[in-house]
Symmetry: C2
Subunit: 241 residues, 2 copies
């Protein structure tokens, strides 16, 4: 079999696999309205698409977690899904720093508390206000660092196309968060509470890596209510701004 | 019912809804191993998680599309899913510019061709090489602009926390692409072939909006093969770099 035929066959297999999975009306049209996808189209349904969307719509930012570790096979599935994100010229500039060592989490917690105290306690505050602010900072940081697994998403400044890393980093982090949600785990995209400064310091990182965000993974103590959202119509424009 | 009780009830409903959806082992643990999720855990399966992951793993960057329009209800579902992405302080700094007007697509095509000719044709090339480069540019641009719907993902520099827009923009674009995939549509994340310069010029945009990327949506003519990927192990580090 020559390379072209092999490629054709692979594309054809990929196409069938794609159509089998994509049960939307779109796929139904691509198949000429026949097969599974066509049936779904005829019923006006796209079951897998609906489930997929529902998982997206029920994702929430969770900050406080049960004290249980997530199984390693789930972590591997989540990381494996993160890297399916679009990436400029297939460069894959990612490094996923998994933090599970309690000593490292303790160090993050200490530095996060210092930062929160810095934000919350002001010179001019009275003693009582200072004590309240300290308790709030401690409670907040205890929540933020309650997970047993954290993933720091980094991009490598020595990647093939580093000027595109700002796209690739959030893309992979967003896919990681969705993959976790699909398996029943909560997470949140931290940029400040566990900041780049904290991470770079705790892990003694040089300038090669950019910290995109830090993501705790676990079973949420509570699944937060949906925050208020803008109307979709306010976010969409057609053919001109 | 006081606000706190209402909130508690809503959280409890949200929690049940979440657990119903999240059929992973994680959710099973959260429920104490009972219910639907517990059954899934007992079987060692997480069916919806698997399907979700499979959709992620079979997403590809598609550039050439069938000349069919995607139905408006699907477009709305895709846009609605895009904005479920994480966003700093719930700011939702997005504007999704949907381009379906053929005149506007023609203008994008013209500008994209100019740009490709600029990249590909060099002064020192002979006439034949120039003619070949021109044909290649034309073919490439015809592909890139073959969709009947494009979504330009923008972020608003006047959002609540504009310094976080670089996270929020790619996050929503990535979710949009996945949502499209779940309904059977192909897409790609363009940053260069349809560049910010082209978009700003064609739509006469001022500095208020940043162009994150442009995404064509449609039924792919061919579903590309999976590109070569790095080993997952090379992308992951544990507790230190």
């Amino acid at each position: 079999m020559d390379t072209k035929t092999k490629r054709g066959l692979r594309q054809s297999l990929n196409r069938r696999r794609f159509l089998k999975l994509g049960t939307g009306i779109g796929a139904g049209l691509a198949l000429g309205g026949t097969g599974l996808a066509g049936e779904a189209a005829a019923r006006g349904k796209h079951a897998k698409g609906d489930e997929f969307m529902e998982i997206m719509h029920t994702r929430r930012s969770a900050r406080e977690f049960e004290p249980t570790q997530i199984p390693d096979d789930h972590l591997q599935m989540i990381l494996d899904a993160a890297r399916t994100a679009p990436t400029a010229g297939n460069q894959q500039p990612w490094k996923f720093l998994v933090v599970r060592d309690e000593k490292m989490i303790d160090r993050i917690r200490e530095r996060a508390l210092e930062a929160q105290l810095g934000y919350r306690i002001k010179e001019e505050m009275g003693d009582e206000a200072k004590a309240t602010a300290r308790r709030q900072a401690e409670d907040y940081v205890a929540q933020c660092t309650s997970a047993k697994t954290f993933v720091v998403v980094l991009t490598d400044n020595e990647s093939n196309y580093p000027s595109y890393n700002w796209h690739d980093g959030p893309l992979a982090a967003g896919y990681l968060i969705l993959a976790a949600r699909s398996l029943g785990y909560g997470s949140v995209y931290y940029t400040d509470s566990i900041s780049e400064t904290i991470i770079k310091d705790v892990f003694d990182m040089d300038d090669r890596y950019k910290v995109v965000c830090t993501i705790p993974l676990g079973i949420p103590k509570e699944w937060p209510a949906k925050p208020d959202k803008k109307d979709l119509a306010d976010l969409v424009a057609y053919d001109s701004l």
